[in-house]
């Protein structure tokens, strides 16, 4: 089965609310059929605006959005056939669960038997069978969210949009809902466009993630690539934890470079977005990629002084001063080998140059 790789296509889309500032700048984004794509970014980065343009509640200032090759900018929201799950659920408070789910079917003039069947199916999908006659106000937050998901799916839309749907739930519930939504997506194969500012949510659920900042897609790739190989310092900073060194490229080679830091020391790094000697750069290193007192041979080895130790149970977070950076974080697994981690002690820190990514300067 060949799937349409450009099922949803943003083509050079700009959006401005006031004619002065562009909220979305020259957005080009292809979403494949059946894909679970997440728009991730800080608030104000334009991700929700993109979603609203796709849903039809905002019109692009420039450019066009295609759904299955048809331009949809001039189609009103109710004719787009796109399901949507809202942050605050947006269940109709005066209707029962059944009536809420039947609403999209009734407006499509589907007959009663068919409606009953579809509502039944949708409710069992979110494991809420038997809740037909409850009012939304009688349900818990998680149940309301499940009803909202069921309602967005009950009329078999081509695309389902989710606008921070789990934002109002507590942590445990949020996690279990993440899996539930992911499983629903896998079982029915609908295209999902998901908006969130929670990176762990994005990493667990998505096929691909589009990281938004400042109205632009900073990086569009699978979750593992996004985490392991961020293409710029914003993505590196935004996804996961990150140690940084600012400096200047001194010895540029194709797959390795030296970076001179402000305190005069030099580290070896992996050149990603630097091209020549003299470039300013920010070197990014994941905390778990730096090891202490290791016997493995690595090409970066430095001494650091422990400034702070925070106990986390399965691991310990250690803040050290290293090469003039007082905010260098290490994650040390809880093991008997690491008993000498005490405030004020000196330790050896090592990492592979491949993991130290020389990105654009901040």
């Amino acid at each position: 089965m060949s799937k349409n790789q450009e099922f949803v296509k943003f083509d050079k889309v700009d959006k401005s609310y006031d004619g002065k500032v562009l909220v979305v700048k020259d957005l080009n984004l292809d979403i494949a059929e059946g894909e679970f794509i997440t728009m991730l970014g800080p608030s104000g980065s334009g991700k929700t605006t993109c979603l609203m343009m796709l849903a039809g509640f905002e019109t692009p200032t420039n450019g066009e959005i295609f759904l299955d090759k048809n331009p949809i900018s001039n189609i009103p929201p109710h004719k787009r056939g796109i399901g949507m799950v809202f942050q605050n659920y947006a269940l109709f408070p005066h209707m029962t669960v059944y009536e809420n789910l039947a609403f999209p079917l009734k407006v499509r003039k589907i007959n009663k038997d068919e409606i009953d069947k579809k509502v039944d199916k949708a409710l069992s999908m979110v494991s809420l069978s038997g809740f037909e006659n409850r009012m939304p106000g009688q349900l818990s937050g998680g149940q309301q969210q499940r009803v909202a998901v069921a309602r967005a799916l009950v009329f078999d839309p081509q695309v389902v949009l989710m606008d921070e749907p789990l934002g109002a739930l507590d942590k445990n519930l949020r996690e279990s809902m993440q899996y539930e939504i992911k499983h629903i997506h896998e079982s029915i194969g609908v295209t999902v466009v998901y908006v969130t500012h929670d990176q762990s949510e994005a990493l667990t659920m998505s096929n691909r993630i589009a990281v938004f900042n400042d109205g632009k897609v900073q990086q569009l790739s699978s979750p593992d690539k996004l985490y392991e190989e961020p293409v710029n310092s914003f993505v590196a900073e935004f996804i996961g934890e990150n140690n940084t060194f600012a400096g200047e490229v001194t010895n540029f080679q194709k797959d390795q470079c030296k970076v001179k830091l402000s305190d005069g020391s030099e580290i070896i790094a992996n050149p990603i977005s630097v091209n020549s000697n003299g470039d300013r750069t920010t070197v990014s290193l994941r905390p778990e990629r730096a090891l202490i007192n290791t016997k493995n041979k690595m090409d970066n080895n430095f001494k650091g002084k422990i400034e702070e130790v925070i106990y986390h149970g399965d691991h310990t977070r250690v803040r050290i001063e290293l090469l003039g950076n007082k905010e260098f974080i290490l994650k040390v697994p809880n093991s008997s080998a690491n008993m000498d981690i005490k405030m004020g002690n000196e330790i050896n820190v090592s990492w592979n140059s491949y993991d130290a990514r020389a990105l654009d300067p901040k």
Binding site: P76, H78, G81, F92, F103, P104, V107, A152
Partner: protein, 417 residues
């Protein structure tokens, strides 16, 4: 289970319930003292006057007290033939006493309410009674005027014997108790109150409808516009609300009169001929226009406060699920505004049904309401008991509407903001 709870004791050995009551008594007293001034105020300014009004509307003691002997002697009289001599004697004695106390005028007014024609024959009786001889008062009184020999007039007096009466209420509905004690309608050309009641209901209904039709879009705008515009609009709604009622009514008089601004505008634009200016005041039109404008905020504010709580994402959800804007409005938005509609309509209707100043000033003869009639009897005819009776009928009407409303919509569904 209760036996278990009874067993619970505090550490001092006092039952917990007793201890709790003791601890809470102080708070209860404090709470009562806090509301006491208001309670007293309500008692004096509301409960007591309403009670007094109720008493006044059925009170008919005045005549009962003026003719005590007469009514006592009338007890045995069956009312079919002329009363016996003792009734005449008692009446003569009662009447002479009233003349001495100079209260006979009041009696004649009161009796005239019951039956026309008492005023002149009582006046004549007072003149002639000075020369009455002792004994055989029946002959002497009957000789004063032929009406005194008419049994109808004596029956009319007897009807005033009870200390309480419903006649004022009947009068308010254009009915009365006839000589046989049956409740009948007054002659058609004298029925004024029913027309007024109906007109009051009609005007209150249509004013409520007009207010609703105009307020709904305004309230919606208020609730959905961005803050800086909605604040301005809110001021536009509230400014008239804060302006004196009289000022607003007076400005409508300036606008609506035949040589007024609106008519001038119509003439200027050629909509009407100069010699054919429509009358927009001193009739129903004036009442409708002015009352609708004045009561509009009472509809806007409850609607606004309800609409403000409706999340815009509900409309979006409706649309994204495939509902056209109209269906989404009708199935999602409108049902959610019903509590506001209920509150606004009830408020406006109840205010309109008892409206007084505006219809009095711009209503003319065809645009006045029942409240104007009440005021007329309070101030001009001084028939306070009749005014009280009509006031209570109005109150009962409002309570009835409230009751029906509660049955239909449910008072819990009301939201006043």
């Amino acid at each position: 289970m209760s036996s278990e709870t009874e067993k619970i004791l505090t550490t001092d050995g006092i039952p917990l319930e007793v201890s709790l009551k003791k601890a809470e008594r102080k708070n209860k007293i404090k709470a009562f003292l806090l509301v006491a001034p208001l309670l007293l105020f309500l008692l004096i300014t509301y409960i007591f006057p309403i009670g007094d009004m109720l008493m006044r509307s059925v009170d008919d003691k005045m005549v009962t007290e003026m003719l005590p002997k007469t009514f006592k002697s009338m007890e045995k009289w069956d009312g079919n033939e002329m009363p016996p001599e003792e009734v005449f004697e008692a009446f003569y004695l009662d009447f002479q006493k009233l003349v001495e106390e100079k209260r006979d005028g009041k009696l004649s007014t009161q009796l005239n309410y019951t039956k026309n024609g008492f005023k002149s024959i009582l006046k004549k009786l007072r003149r002639k009674a000075k020369n009455f001889e002792e004994g055989n008062y029946k002959e002497q009184i009957m000789a004063v005027h032929k009406r005194w020999a008419d049994v109808e007039y004596w029956r009319a007096i007897k009807r005033r014997a009870p200390a309480y009466t419903t006649s004022k209420y009947l009068k308010g509905m254009d009915m009365y108790k006839n000589e046989d004690g049956k409740i009948v309608n007054v002659d058609e050309d004298r029925r004024i109150h029913r027309v007024l009641w109906l007109r009051t209901l009609e005007i209150a209904f249509f004013v409520t409808l007009l207010c609703f039709l105009m307020a709904y879009p305004i309230a919606h705008l208020l609730a959905t516009l961005p803050m800086k515009y909605s604040n301005l609009l809110m001021i536009c709604v509230l400014l008239p609300f804060w302006t004196s009622l009289l000022v607003r009514t007076a400005s409508w008089m300036i606008l609506l009169q035949q040589q007024g601004v609106v008519n001038d505008f119509f003439v200027m634009t050629g909509l009407v001929a100069d010699d054919n200016r429509p009358e927009m005041m001193y009739n129903k039109t004036g009442t409708y226009v002015a009352m609708t404008q004045i009561l509009l905020p009472f509809m806007v504010l409850p609607l606004y406060s309800v609409m403000k709580t409706i999340s815009p994402s509900l409309m979006r959800a409706g649309k994204s699920l495939g509902g056209t804007p109209f269906i989404t409005f009708w199935k999602v938005y409108f049902p959610l505004t019903i509590p506001g509609i209920g509150a606004g309509c009830l408020l406006v209707f109840i205010l309109a049904i008892g409206y007084y100043i505006t219809p009095a000033l711009v209503g003319g003869a065809s645009g006045t309401l029942i409240s104007n009639q009440i005021a007329f009897h309070m101030k001009s005819t001084l028939d306070w008991s009749f005014a009280s009776a009509m006031g209570l009928m109005l109150l009962a009407g409002v309570l009835a509407i409230y009751w029906v409303y509660n049955k239909l919509v449910g008072i819990d569904n009301i939201k006043l903001g």
